[in-house]
Homo-oligomer: 78 residues x 2
């Protein structure tokens, strides 16, 4: 089963990549009010059961895929 | 309107981050068959019309948010 993990910087944390993208786009006349930049991780897990696959993906996220101090994550089945 | 952009490495391209994550997780006993790592960009665009907002987001993607040689992108309305 394919699981998508969206890892985004917490709102309270300075998202320097987001600021850079914002500034670059604005400097070139593209109008946007806000931008945040995070990671997207696609995991292919040998598990047909949806709940078990999500549980395994959660375990991987908690173990190594995000930094809880500065990031949050969301899972979706792809 | 909030638009999500998922930028992923092309299948033909070596995804070194993905390989690193795969190896690390396997080395710690987590079973996964494949992993790809890309970027996720949330754009907040001052535009209420869905089609117009998507058109603006596409313009930004083509202009600066992805490298067409090595990446593909997908948009979603959030």
């Amino acid at each position: 089963m394919k699981i998508g993990v969206r890892v985004m910087p917490r709102k309270e944390v300075l998202d320097s990549q987001g600021r850079a993208v914002e500034r670059t786009l604005r400097a070139h006349g593209k109008n946007l009010s806000h931008c945040r930049v995070g990671k997207y991780i696609e995991l292919e897990i040998d598990e047909k059961d949806r709940q078990k696959a999500l549980a395994k993906a959660t375990e991987m996220c908690e173990f190594a895929l995000h930094n809880p101090l500065i990031e949050t994550y969301e899972l979706e089945v792809l």
